[in-house]
């Protein structure tokens, strides 16, 4: 399992894999008592690509400082708290690194107890995924709820709830099920849409990297498997192109490049854009990098944009598409986390840094302060350190912003005390409009999602793909994605058992069945659903009819060896997308379909 012993022969394979690995920022929540250090240590030890020296040092350390009678003590690899205690070092947020062959992980860890909220909020701000660690003996305690709440507040969409120390509860399935049910009951109030549970023993290694022999009743994959496979790519907002101008590069009179990091979405030369706040309209003439011009760029790339017209652009401005402009607001509501030792008062002036722009802001009102132990709301007239509060703010110059739920970069800000230069608070902008819609129970009217029609032979894997996409969108989609929980699958077999019961398997019967499904899909679409149809639709002529009825995106699902003489299937000539099961494993195929759907939203 350990890939650390790379021989000269396959170092090039290793490098190729290493270069193409994805990056995942991981937050770990839990205390030493839950076995957090042991868990991270165990992962490093059993799974990570790391210099062999670390192992040698650990063996040595375990002999002297270990708690396992001289046997390997994984906790020593990462035990920040021990370092804190023994060496008098303070740790608020520490970053650690490990790689597997699939992914590179940056782990943000906030062990501090005193400044608990502040530290965890900091660590969570950049995380894609959270590990929430529980002790099987104690179940879901207040602390775990706090962890989950903060992870949710900071916009983390994927959480792996690790139920540790299963060895101390005799690997009991009942204990696991009870904890899982308790957690789910609580998590219903949160925005973490993709929850996974894994029972394990960090100390013994059960279900960390290797499947446990003690828990045959659990089949959900080891922790490492989840870390490597939870799909996070579609969390990125690929819809709204946002380019905060960071730096203007003017090396000579003929070149003017607007440097920045793409906060969301993508851009191509020729795109029509508007510069905020001046509202000047122009087009992108080139996307520059050190390595040459690009024909497209996307988040989170750092590039330089050139514009066709000689417009006035400076740091703090934002370049956005003409047809997708963020709100420009001087007054808005935000969730504020106070990080200041003293108290923050209403009406006091702070500097606000939002993307690359700095201006001044005041807190006009505190709507409520959240008690993170009970998740109840309290009235208060000032903010104290570690408070999480919904506040009304006003700023001196309009900020081009999106809600934090939709865009982590254009929806976040920090407040700085102009006298001490301390960062006193951080904030996440709320979308008042969306909330009003939600609260009034209206559906997002006028939103039209596409219909996807998965066509292909029996056994090509259409239903499996449709289910995977449905699961992904309905359970794990980020909040900014309006398609969340609005995906519906119309499956051929189910249709035949319900609405198409009179239609036989003759060509005409098939046609009638297909037409029925097309009409139903059209109806569901008009109700605001994203419809995925998995119905063979074998004939070209019928597919033409279907296109006229509901105009779906045709996805041809291909798998060889499924052709049958009695069930002819005419391969579509120009499908919108092809999923080739001869070449893709099921997991990759599902991700490909999900990515395709996202690209068409």
């Amino acid at each position: 399992m350990r890939p650390s012993l790379v021989t000269k022969g396959d170092i090039h394979t290793f490098l190729k894999e290493y270069d193409s690995a994805g990056l995942v920022r991981l937050l770990t929540c839990g205390s030493v008592d839950d076995g957090k250090s042991t868990l991270i240590g165990r992962l490093f030890l059993d799974a990570a690509v790391l210099p062999g020296d670390t192992l040698a040092a650990l063996e040595e350390d375990s002999k002297h400082h270990g708690t396992q009678n001289g046997a390997l003590d994984p906790a020593l690899l990462t035990d920040g708290l021990k370092a804190e205690r023994e060496q008098g070092i303070t740790i608020d947020v520490a970053y650690r690194f490990f790689s597997t062959r699939e992914r590179s992980f940056i782990i943000a860890d906030a062990p501090g107890h005193e400044q608990y909220t502040r530290n965890m909020v900091t660590a969570a701000s950049t995380a894609d995924m959270a590990i929430i660690l529980l002790d099987a003996r104690h179940g879901v305690r207040e602390q775990s709820k706090r962890h989950a709440f903060i992870a949710s507040l900071l916009g983390i969409k994927h959480a792996i709830v690790v139920i540790n120390k299963m060895d101390l509860v005799e690997f009991s399935e009942d204990v696991y099920r009870k904890i899982k049910a308790d957690f789910l009951a609580f998590a219903g109030r949160l925005e973490i849409t993709d929850l996974h549970f894994v029972p394990l023993s960090a100390l013994l290694g059960d279900n960390v990297v290797e499947q446990s022999a003690e828990m045959p009743w659990y089949s959900g994959g080891t922790l490492l498997h989840l870390l490597n496979t939870v799909h996070i790519a579609s969390d990125r907002n690929m819809i709204d192109f946002r380019f905060p101008v960071q730096y203007v590069n003017r090396p000579n009179p003929s070149y003017r490049g607007y440097c920045g990091t793409i906060a969301s979405g993508s851009v191509r030369p020729g795109d029509a854009v508007v510069v905020l706040p001046s509202h000047q309209v122009t087009r992108i003439s080139a996307v520059d990098t050190f390595d040459g011009e690009l024909d497209r760029a996307f988040t989170p790339m750092s590039v330089a944009l050139r514009l066709e017209d000689n417009v006035d652009v400076s740091r703090g401005d934002m370049i956005v598409p003409v047809n997708n402009v963020p709100e420009q607001r001087t007054d808005f509501d935000a969730m504020i986390v106070s990080m200041h030792a003293g108290s923050m008062n209403l009406g006091q002036e702070y500097l606000i840094k939002h993307t690359t722009k700095t201006t001044t802001a005041r807190i006009q009102g505190i709507r409520y302060v959240m008690d993170i132990n009970t998740l109840s709301r309290q009235d208060r007239s000032e903010l104290r350190c570690n408070d999480i509060a919904r506040c009304a703010l006003s700023v001196a110059e309009p900020l081009a912003s999106d809600s934090y739920a939709r865009n982590r970069t254009t929806g976040s800000f920090i407040l700085i005390d102009p006298h001490t230069n301390h960062t006193v608070a951080v904030g996440m902008i709320l979308d008042r409009k969306a909330e009003e819609v939600l609260e009034s129970g209206e559906s997002s009217s006028g939103v039209h999602f596409p219909i996807l029609w998965l066509t292909g032979n029996t056994g090509a894997g259409k239903s499996t793909l449709a289910e995977a996409a449905e699961r992904h969108f309905n359970r794990s989609s980020p909040a900014w994605n309006a398609a969340a929980r609005r995906v519906i699958v119309l499956d051929g077999d189910e249709m035949r058992e319900t609405v198409s019961t009179e239609d036989d398997l003759s060509p005409e019967g098939r046609r009638k069945h297909n037409i029925r499904v097309a009409r139903l899909a059209k109806l569901m679409q008009s109700k605001g659903f994203l419809v995925i149809v998995s119905v063979i639709a074998p004939y070209d002529t019928v597919r033409k009819e279907i296109s006229e009825i509901c105009d779906p995106l045709w996805v041809y699902v291909k798998r060889s060896g499924r052709e049958a003489h009695d069930r002819p299937y005419e391969v579509p000539q120009n499908p919108d997308y092809i999923i080739d099961h001869d070449k893709l494993d099921p997991n990759t195929a599902a991700h490909a379909l999900i990515d395709f759907i996202v690209s068409r939203l």
């Binding site: 020296d53 690929m238 960071q246 520059d288 050190f290 989170p300 790339m301 690209s599």
Partner: protein, 303 residues
Amino acid sequence: MAGYTLTHLRQLEAESIFIFREVAAEFAKPVMLYSIGKDSSVLLHLARKAFHPGKLPFPLMHIDTTYKFREMIAFRDRYVRDELGLDLIVHTNQEGVAKGINPFDHGSARYTDIMKTDALKQALAKHEFDAAIGGARRDEEKSRAKERVFSFRNNKQKWDPKSQRPELWSLFNARVNKGESMRVFPLSNWTEIDVWAYIELEKIPVVPLYFAKKRPVVRRGGTLIMVDDHRLPLEPREVPAQKMVRFRTLGCYPLTGAVESSATTVPEIISELLSSDSSERKDRLIDSDQPASMEEKKKAGYF
């Protein structure tokens, strides 16, 4: 959509470029610390990417302790000065030189204090730099794991690990008053393997000392020290041996241990790294000359 994802090295690259540009935009007089090693090579490469096609909007500065390997100085002058034509400041603590401070008579701790830490503070104060960009990585050492990307220094150039500014998202608080400054670390989230993999990917030039070659060394304690010039005092009857060695980190030659190796290419270095039994900074004698020593040095103003 498959083409719309960045690999982790490209994400790290994008993040570092963002940090460089943030420094250039937010500070009046930044400088980039250039120590000639592999991390500096990567740092310099990223800086060039950040400001292409323009010139770097800040000078480079090398703190020369006078005990750097000769090959390092040769590489610096050939690559940075001649090939890239960059603005390079070289600063040496002349008081230290006048007093004859050296690692043999004064010990590594005092020598480093005077010729590195003091020298750096002198140079930063002399030029009134308000931001100094360095190549430190969080995976190098425990105290660095918790240091911010934008790390505040008071007007005595001191770091206070207990009152660091909260750092969320990519919203760096770059505000300093006169006399105060910021140390900025664009490679914070890179690991040693990332650095080498990126050097290989981008074909970045590095000092030849990283590659194994027969070099004259003597064994001191458990450490192989290269006899780079005549200033290294030899014990009676001590004769330098020619050994195939290379260096995992580069610093002052009397304080930097060599490792026996046959790695002559970057992939071979990475291969060796993955099965090595010696940690990156372990061959740096200055990290362990006092307990929790890097944290103490950093508080005092060392990079």
